[in-house]
């Protein structure tokens, strides 16, 4: 229902203006851009500091913050700041990638369900209800523990570190498409009988054209909001799985994996547990605030309420 109300939220200029009026959302965007830029510049930062992110220095473990190591060193003598930035690349990659894949699946399913209706529609809605109702994390853990080699995938493809990135994106996408599917379905349903769509049909436009020219643009707004909001959830899911040892595999690191070791060292080096978690927290929070701001900017009629 919400989705149909966003229909009129038209022009980009007005959108930008309304978005700018939300200080929390604008601040979030700035913070996110800063975090993203720093993570992208990780190799540069490493070179500036003169450290190698992989180099193990057993004599320089648990160093306090200094000029050479702004956030100190970890249990293997690696620079914490540089590791954080490299970890952020993985976390952000998984977050954005996973959310985009999930949304793409959701859009396709939602449009098909809304457009065709009937049995397929009912089936899709039942499945989304069921997925939303399930205890997600235990199931994610089982999925993450699945041995891909048993499915007949070659071992190097199933077990590699790079594969763990792809795999976790697929896993979160498997459960993450439902919100977008619902929104898209609702929007499709509300548009498909509007006069301009009926006119297009009467003029003989093929369904593909109607979907592309009329349905997709009108579905875009709620999908963008839902995707933004889901990036945060995907990052959270990835970090939990990685923390539990089932997500990103070494030698790659994400913010979640950096916390795995930190738990055992919590009495000796509590600071190691602080930074990665703080970055996850800030990143997820800013994605959520930004999504919320976008939602209101796209949907001014609702924003009286919020």
């Amino acid at each position: 229902m919400r989705a149909s109300e966003t229909l009129a939220s038209g022009r980009p200029a007005g959108l930008l203006r309304r978005f700018r009026r939300r200080p929390a959302a604008v601040a979030s965007l700035c913070v996110l851009v800063a975090i993203g830029a720093l993570c992208l510049a990780a190799p540069l930062v490493a070179r500036l500091l003169g450290t190698d992110p992989e180099a193990i220095d057993l004599l320089g473990r648990f160093r306090p913050p200094s000029l050479a190591h702004p956030l100190g060193t970890d249990e293997l003598g690696r620079d914490v700041l540089v590791r954080l930035l490299y970890g952020g690349r993985i976390s952000l990659l998984v977050g954005l990638g996973g959310a985009l894949v999930a949304s793409a699946i959701g859009v396709v399913i939602g449009i098909l369900a809304g457009w065709r209706g009937g049995l397929f529609d009912r089936l899709v809605m039942r499945v989304t209800d069921a997925v939303i109702a399930l205890p997600l994390l235990p199931l994610l853990i089982v999925l993450a523990a699945v041995d891909l080699a048993k499915l007949g995938l070659p071992a190097e493809l199933a077990g590699g570190a790079a594969a763990s990135v792809l795999r976790i994106m697929v896993i979160v996408a498997l459960f993450g498409w439902t919100t977008v599917a619902r929104l898209t379905r609702a929007a499709t349903l509300s548009i498909k009988n509007r006069e301009f769509v009926l006119a297009a049909r009467a003029l003989g436009a093929p369904p593909r054209r109607i979907l592309r020219a009329h349905i997709l643009p009108n579905v875009a707004a709620p999908v963008v909001v839902a995707t933004t909001l889901s990036v945060g959830n995907v990052i959270l899911a990835e970090s939990v799985l990685s923390f539990l040892g089932l997500g990103i595999q070494p030698p790659l690191a994400s913010w979640g994996t950096m916390l795995t070791n930190a738990q055992e060292l919590i009495f000796g080096a509590p600071a190691l547990a602080l930074w990665p978690g703080l970055l996850i927290f800030v990143t997820v929070l800013t994605f959520n605030l930004m999504g919320d701001g976008l939602q209101e900017a796209l949907d001014p009629r609702q924003s009286r309420h919020r």
Binding site: A133, I141, V146, G232
Partner: protein, 318 residues
Amino acid sequence: MSRLLLRRGIETLLVLLVMSFLIYALIGLMPGDPIDLMLSADPRFTTADAARLKALYGLDRPLLERYLRWLQRALAGDFGYSRLYGQPVFAVIWPRLLNTLLLMGASLLLALLIGIPAGILAALRPRGLLDTLVNLLAFAGFSVPSFWLSLMLIVLFAVTLGWLPAGGVASVGDGGFLDRLTYLVLPVAALTLLTAGTFLRFVRASMLEALEEDHIRTARAKGCGTARVVLLHALPNAMIPVVTVVALHFGSLLSGALVVETVFSYLGMGKLIYDAILGNDYNLALAALLLGTALTLLANLAADIVYLELDPRIHESL
């Protein structure tokens, strides 16, 4: 009404059945297999022995056949033995389930005690200072990584201040009520902080909607005071969707409990599921996961029933 409930009940059972098959299949895809694990302890066994044993236990049969055999036994109440604990799985699960229900119940209660009043207060003056502050805290609540929040609570209260134990269920040699309570404080606090924000946002949104109804305007026009309007006229209506949300939240509460229990080494269902999966305890993982799913689905069914009871308008729309 009863026909609707019957339909929802049958649907719930169907979903549970489908889930049991999916979970069974997924567990079978986890690394290793029970016979290999059993034999790896003894070098005298050969691959021929392993093959014979697999045939004996039917592990070489197709997936569907194995599942149906498992289902047949499960329906008769036989879920097999736990590999890690050497006991029938439900003998392992019950005490853990009680611990988890205690953790989840206490957190749920506290989260509601925080979320409902805060949500109402925030709704009274939308966009006011209090509203902004409360909303920001709510956003923080569902943006914070559960395991990190738990770790930070340990750092603060167990490492730095030394007030509370860092993990476990009870002290060795003690086990009295107060002792157990000290072990509950941090996990409950973590789970509460994770949940309260969601409830708060729902109460607020629902309250705002209720306050816009015509009968509220009428009451106000007749000179009804704010407290009376909010508590007597708006709150009952605003609570209806909240009841549903609480019940629908069972699954995510269980997910949160899994992480919190793991970090605090709290012996509940969540940690049990995690340990069973990592320890290749297939029977236990399967039964515990299914129980968690069943409980979640039941909570959803309960939400539907309560909703029907509370909001008669639903009958007309269904």
